[in-house]
Structure formats: structure tokens, C-alpha cells
């Protein structure tokens, strides 16, 4: 049955349904409903919630609980996610599966609390030190946030990797009808023989990321890279909207993609052949899929983003060797501002294709 749910609460409930039993967080706007919800809900299902003394501590609690084999999650917003980067790097290096939610707000620094997508590089290109990636889902509706959070726990376990849910303040705060999947039977989940869960029966399990021998570390890096390559084949997700005959394609993820959908409909009404390409996974990025659009009729791609030119880099990477040499431009609002469908439609109609987001 559908319930009217706030994005933050829906993400929390989806995590419970996916078997998350440990949550560690620290207050920061605009994601506070996630820890608030978890603080009482985990009690009901026999899990554990700790309000940590900092984001640094919270992510390390996730490392401990998830490393001991329990599905675990933390959530935060941009400045707090920066603090978690050290822990995320260790988690990636030690191959610990977990889910991290980032309801992005505008930066840099303390920035503001209004919605933003300015942590795109941080989420998709590493964030912390060392060579690693996370699988990063960018939901655009409350229902999709539910579905992807649920899925995230399974993919995290499969790869033994951190998975990020990359939302923004708007997605966290808005309410939409959503249906929560049926709760998993915890006993049906794959066992985790690698987990340092105690009672090891004589075979020690160690959760660590230290490799003092360059050769051993190189092999470890290779193993991680093979995983990321598998993700790029298996996990990449995208949506194309009215792109079949589109000459201008808007590229956007998350909530912005929905605003773009409205803009595409407006443009179509006034005779402009516009479409929308929406990456659902921003790591791995759907490079092949966007390139296919350029192989068709699309000659103009506009990266529509709440950041100063981050998404556009992946758009360009996807199109760099396209034989049709499509043009790429950017339309952005930042600082916590959000563009309207009309603004986007007007920009497309103007025929401009900006290299910089600054007007």
C-alpha cells in the first residue's frame, strides 16, 4: 500500500526493509529525519542506533558493525559527508559493504542548507584518498529513493563495497506516495564468512586495508578495479525520455531530471525536438548509453545541474569519440537555487550552448 512519505523517512524505512539493523548518524540539515526515524524504528526491529559524537565517528561505527556482518547505514549532508571520507576510504579498502546517504546541500564550506548537486565529483570520483569508487545511485523521486536504497544493500553485499544514495535537500524533504518493499527475511540473506563477527572457529577473519608490500597492494587495487569494471557492465542504469527523435538532449540526474522532464514537455509543445537523458547510477556513469543518443539524431547535449560544471565532465567523456561530434553545453543554478522548467525551456529555445554556467 502506498503511503505519503518524506524522502528522508522513506529512505530510512526502505533500509529497514532491506535488513539494515545498525545506523550511526550525526545531526545535519537537511537529512535529520533519517537518524530521527532510525532512532525509534531500529528499536522496534531489534537493531541498534547510535547518535555519534561526529560524522567521523559515525562512519567508523558503520565500519565496525558492517565489518562484523550486519547490514549498516549512515546518512549525512555535504559537510558531514566530507568528514566521513576518511572512513569511506577505509571501508572501500577493507571491502566492507554498507550504505551511505548524502542529501546534498550547497557548498563549499558551510555553504547553505538548500538543495544542491555540488558533491558530484566527491561521490563519483573517489572523495577520500586512494583509488576507490562507490556504486552511486541518484534517485529522482521518493519511490525511486526507496527502491534504490533497498537495492543498495544487496549490491553492497554482492560487491563488498560502500554504496551511496546521492539525493539532495529537496528529495529528502519532499513527500510523495511511495510503497515500501516487503521486508527481507534476515535468515535468507547470504552468509558472510569474511565478516569479523566473533566465534571464528579457529579461522581468523581480519577487516583491514593495510598492505605494506607494493605487489600485494597492486593486486588488491587490481581486484577492486575488476569490481568497478563489473559494475560498469552490470549495474549501470539510465532513463531516456522522449529521446527517439530528439535533437537537443538535456542531461540531468536526481530531482533536476524531473524539472527537465517538465521542460522537455514544454519544449515539445512549442515544436522543439527535445529529450532527456537521466543517469540513475552516476557511478558507474552510463557512458555507452549517452553515446548511443549521439549516434542517432541528437547533436546538442545540455548538462543541467545544480553544480558549477561537474556533471558536464562525464557528459563530455561519454561523447568525446562520437563520430557525429555533438556539442555540449551547461545550464546550472547553484548556491541552493533550483531552476524552473520555464528557465530551462527558455535557455534551450535561445539556441545558446554555454561553456560556463555563469550567465
Amino acid at each position: 500500500m502506498k503511503k505519503l512519505m518524506k524522502g528522508n523517512e522513506a529512505v530510512a524505512e526502505a533500509a529497514i526493509a532491506a535488513g539494515c539493523r545498525c545506523f550511526f548518524g550525526y545531526p545535519i540539515t537537511p537529512q535529520n529525519e533519517v537518524p530521527e526515524y532510525m532512532s525509534w524504528r531500529l528499536k522496534e526491529v531489534g537493531g541498534s542506533f547510535v547518535q555519534a559524537e561526529s560524522e567521523v565517528s559515525a562512519i567508523n561505527m558503520v565500519y565496525g558493525a558492517a565489518g562484523a556482518g550486519v547490514r549498516s547505514m549512515t546518512s549525512s549532508s555535504s559537510p558531514g559527508i566530507s568528514l566521513k571520507q576518511e572512513g569511506i576510504s577505509y571501508i572501500a579498502g577493507a571491502q566492507v559493504p554498507c550504505v551511505i546517504v548524502n542529501m546534498m546541500r550547497a557548498g563549499p564550506g558551510l555553504g547553505g542548507i538548500q538543495p544542491s548537486q555540488s558533491d558530484y565529483f566527491q561521490a563519483t570520483k573517489g572523495g577520500g584518498h586512494g583509488d576507490y569508487h562507490m556504486l552511486v545511485y541518484a534517485p529522482s523521486s521518493v519511490q525511486e529513493a526507496v527502491d534504490l536504497t533497498y537495492k543498495a544493500f544487496f549490491r553492497a553485499d554482492y560487491y563488498r563495497t560502500p554504496v551511496m544514495i546521492l539525493g539532495d535537500g529537496m528529495l529528502g524533504q519532499m513527500m510523495e506516495p511511495a510503497e515500501i518493499p516487503e521486508a527481507v527475511d534476515l535468515s535468507s540473506l547470504e552468509p558472510k564468512p569474511w565478516a569479523a563477527s566473533g566465534n571464528n572457529g579457529g579461522t581468523q577473519r581480519v577487516i583491514n586495508s593495510i598492505y605494506m608490500s607494493p605487489d600485494a597492494l597492486e593486486e588488491h587495487n587490481a581486484m577492486l578495479t575488476r569490481r568497478y569494471e563489473e559494475m560498469a557492465k552490470v549495474d549501470v542504469m539510465s532513463e531516456s525520455y522522449r529521446t527517439d527523435d530528439a535533437e537537443v538532449v538535456l542531461v540531468a540526474y536526481g530531482i533536476v531530471a524531473r524539472i527537465c522532464k517538465a521542460a522537455v514537455d514544454m519544449l515539445r509543445e512549442s515544436g522543439v525536438k527535445a529529450g532527456l537523458f537521466r543517469p540513475v547510477t552516476v557511478y558507474p556513469f552510463p557512458y555507452e548509453e549517452i553515446k548511443k543518443l549521439a549516434d542517432g539524431k541528437a547533436r546538442k547535449f545540455i548538462s543541467v545541474e545544480l553544480s558549477c560544471g561537474q556533471l558536464i565532465e562525464d557528459v563530455k567523456l561519454g561523447l568525446y569519440d562520437s563520430k557525429n561530434r555533438p556539442e555540449v553545453g551547461i545550464f546550472a543554478r547553484v548556491g541552493g537555487n533550483v531552476m524552473s522548467p520555464e528557465e530551462i525551456a527558455d535557455y534551450v529555445k535561445s539556441g545558446r550552448l554555454s561553456k560556463s554556467w555563469i550567465k
Binding site: 581468523q204 577473519r205 593495510i210
Partner: protein, 253 residues
């Protein structure tokens, strides 16, 4: 038939330790394994290794282990304990790890009363990185970053962890011991046993601070280093029990 009067504790592996000659880490590792053995914990033990010289502690213990980021071991242990409340969790940290970069983590794990046992190695110096000043470096002590001796006006004062943490409500047992001679090694073992018993009885947080040596970075022979702790270390860091909420003695037997 011959009787075995001395053997390696069950929880230790056969791996030769990498510690410098005269370093007291090896003694403390053994004492932890003995203490866990004494309370009958062989199987369901999970240890957290720090960043510092004990980073490879997982090579020496047979139990499941985590290697934590610098200073974060108490948080990792919190996660482990919340996920596996029935396991016995020990945290092994040095003074830079616990009292400098990880001060927030240790204070909050203590004040939450997390049911875990922390072994805090205080040798007053950063060993692994090559002898820099630690938060616990004594006044006047020379290190590579306080080359004319620690001057409180310039470098600040040494931090006293047991004194600090025993002001909190959360901890069940806080004690400072030393391993500079046989008598004190035995006292350390007893303190560890009591700490682990606190955990078994779910009394909450326990921390045993152990005054230790680093002959390499003290630039002393092992014996001189032990003498230094005996004459100078214990003056700055008085040994004793700083907090003890008491055990259920019947249950503890």
C-alpha cells in the same frame, strides 16, 4: 610425567612479533591473551588494532580483528559491539591514537559506557613515525618535534587520560598500571582481567592505561627505558585504580 608450567596463551599466534628489542607491546599482547584466557574467552573475541606500532596486532591474536583508522578504534568497536553484543571486544590504542587524534572518540565511547575494554599504551612518544612528541610526552622530554625538551609554555602540558575519563559517569573501570617490572606486569594482568570481567558482566566501559617503553625512540637501552618509566613515568602518571563500579563477585568467579 613432566608438567607444563609455562606456555603460550591460546589466543596468541606463532607469528614472531615485529616490535623493536625491549619494546613492551609484546608483553602487553601476551597479558591480554592471558587475561582473556583466564576469564574463559577464547572464541567470541573481536579485537580492534590502531594506527601506530600495534597496527599489525591482528597478526599476533587468533581472534577476529579490525584494523581501524588513526584514533577511530573506539568508534569501530562501538559498531562491532552494537552489531555483536555477545562478543568480547578489546580496543588497543597508543597515546597519539587515543589521546590526540582520537580524543573525541575515546571520550564519547567512555561517556556512552560502551561495553568494551580499551588497552591504552602510554609510552609518551609516537613510535612508528619516528619519535615525535605525543600528547603524553613528559615535561622536559626530548622528542624529534620537541628537541630541547617539552616546554609547557610552548608545547602545552601532558594529558592525563585516567584522571580525565574517571570524571565521567559512563566508565565502569579505569586503572593505570605499568610494565616496568615483574610486580607491575602482574598487576597489569590483574587489571586486564578485571576490565574484561566488567565487560562480561555488562558493566560498561573499561580502560586500562599501561605505562610502556619505546627504547628505540627514547634512545635508551631496554633496561634504561624501564628504569625511566619506573623513576620518571610513574611520578607524572600515578598508578592505581581511578574508577571501579564493582563486580558481582559471585558471578565473576
Amino acid at each position: 610425567m613432566d608438567k607444563i608450567v609455562f606456555s603460550k596463551p591460546a589466543l596468541l599466534t606463532d607469528t614472531p612479533m615485529h616490535y623493536c628489542p625491549g619494546c613492551t607491546h609484546g608483553i602487553v599482547h601476551r597479558l591480554i591473551a592471558e587475561a582473556l584466557g583466564e576469564i574463559g574467552e577464547f572464541d567470541n573475541v573481536i579485537g580492534i588494532a590502531p594506527v601506530g606500532c600495534a597496527v599489525f596486532a591482528y597478526n599476533y591474536f587468533k581472534c577476529d580483528m579490525f584494523q581501524a583508522a588513526h584514533g577511530r578504534a573506539p568508534s569501530v568497536a562501538t559498531g562491532v559491539k552494537r552489531a555483536r553484543p555477545d562478543s568480547t571486544v578489546f580496543v588497543y590504542q597508543g597515546d597519539g591514537d587515543l589521546a590526540s587524534i582520537g580524543m573525541a572518540e575515546i571520550v564519547h565511547a567512555a561517556t556512552r559506557g560502551e561495553n568494551m575494554t580499551v588497552i591504552f599504551i602510554n609510552n609518551g612518544i609516537y613510535g612508528m613515525t619516528g619519535g615525535q612528541m605525543a600528547p603524553t610526552t613528559l615535561e622536559g622530554q626530548k622528542t624529534t618535534t620537541s628537541q630541547f625538551g617539552r616546554n609547557p609554555l610552548e608545547h602545552g602540558n601532558p594529558i592525563k587520560i585516567c584522571e580525565m575519563l574517571s570524571t565521567l559517569t559512563g566508565p565502569a573501570y579505569i586503572a593505570r598500571t605499568s610494565v616496568h617490572d615483574v610486580k607491575n606486569v602482574r598487576a597489569t594482568r590483574d587489571a586486564l582481567v578485571r576490565g574484561f570481567k566488567m565487560q562480561k558482566q555488562k558493566r560498561g566501559f573499561s580502560l586500562i592505561e599501561i605505562l610502556s617503553t619505546c627504547p628505540t625512540n627514547f634512545h635508551m637501552t631496554p633496561i634504561a627505558a624501564l628504569e625511566y618509566v619506573k623513576t620518571t613515568g610513574v611520578k607524572a602518571y600515578p598508578l592505581g585504580v581511578y574508577k571501579d563500579v564493582g563486580l558481582n563477585e559471585e558471578e565473576a568467579k
